[in-house]
């Protein structure tokens, strides 16, 4: 079992990604796809007059400030535009893909953090009425039923809270939670960079291997921006029993296959 997360940043080649997924499925690999949609969400939010706002936590992680309207825009893009685009491309390639959000069938269940701590200009603050959270439980029965039926699940945030509210969750960590729950041997996380870079943005400075004992060190000293959350999701996946995590580049052909062959940053 392989869980493949493809990001939503600019530059990602979804045609190439879907073509590679189709090739792997035809070769008999059992796959689950998880995707993002951040750059499209930003564009649609701007167009709708509700520009995105990002906040930074006291330990330096950035995340989208998610009020109810932002959550609805998030759903339009992630569950609508992005999810159906990927499912459509896979169907056209002969893959019987099924698109689901974490809300559907209670697929990804988690705790909502309605109040969060942020830092703005060096000042700490609490922001309320936020719709974010973290996946704590995965409906493996639903995924197993789809996989046994020959379908390829294509999954996307949001997740659903214990109080049945949609919550914005990080897709990399949701993919990690899915890989843990399904006892996947490999988690592939693809984005618009080649992996963890020692000297960001110098792509020649790729760190090819990170032993699990070194994840915190690499995160603290080399990871920039969203890469820190990818490393956090990787650490959680490894600690949860996933054999290896590969952080790879989705801007090129055969991006999943080349990542599985070890191109990128391998964490094990």
């Amino acid at each position: 079992m392989i869980v493949v997360k493809v990001g939503g940043s600019e530059g990602i080649d979804y045609d190439a990604f879907c073509a590679d997924i189709a090739q792997l499925v035809k070769a008999g690999k059992q796959l689950i796809v998880v995707h993002g949609g951040s750059s499209q969400t930003n564009a649609v939010a701007e167009a709708l007059g509700h520009p995105p706002q990002f906040v930074t936590s006291p330990s330096g992680y950035t995340s989208r400030l998610t009020d109810r309207k932002t959550l609805e825009i998030f759903e339009m893009v992630y569950c609508g535009k992005m999810n159906k685009m990927i499912v459509e491309k896979l169907q056209a390639l002969g893959v019987n893909a099924v698109g689901l959000s974490g809300i559907d069938g209670g697929l990804w269940r988690g705790k909502r953090k309605s109040a969060i701590r942020v830092v703005e200009n060096g000042r700490k603050r609490i922001i309320r009425n936020n719709f974010t959270g973290k996946v704590e439980a995965v409906n493996t029965d639903l995924l197993t039923m789809l996989l046994e039926g020959g379908y390829v699940p294509v999954l996307t945030p949001p997740a659903i809270s214990y109080e049945n509210e949609a919550i914005n969750v990080d897709g990399d960590r949701a993919a990690g939670a899915t890989a843990i729950a399904l006892k996947a041997n490999t988690l592939v996380i693809l984005s618009n960079v080649p992996g963890v870079l020692k000297n960001f943005p110098d792509e020649e400075s790729l760190i090819t291997d990170v032993p699990s004992s070194q994840i915190d060190h690499v995160s603290e000293h080399y990871a920039e921006g969203r890469m820190r959350i990818k490393l956090l999701g990787s650490k959680e996946a490894i600690e949860g029993g996933v054999g290896r995590v590969i952080l790879g580049d989705a801007r090129q052909a055969d991006c999943v296959s080349t990542a599985l062959a070890g191109k990128g940053t391998t964490i094990s």
Binding site: S57, S63, I116, R125, I126, K134, P157, N168, I229
Partner: protein, 55 residues
């Protein structure tokens, strides 16, 4: 402007440009306090809430 710490009743100096939701520390007892309202100025003991690592 000043507020009274709800924990120790000590005096807490609040900056003029304080924001709603901002966290300040009581200089007397060290409690973390949340500015729950600017006008009128009210402070409460800050809740134990987590960071957000969402998308």
């Amino acid at each position: 402007m000043n507020a009274t710490c709800p924990i120790c009743e000590g005096e807490v100096e609040i900056a003029a440009d304080v924001m709603a939701g901002e966290l300040v520390e009581c200089p007397d007892c060290g409690s973390e306090l949340e500015i729950t309202s600017i006008d009128p100025l009210t402070v409460e003991e800050a809740p134990e809430v987590e960071e957000d690592w969402g998308e």
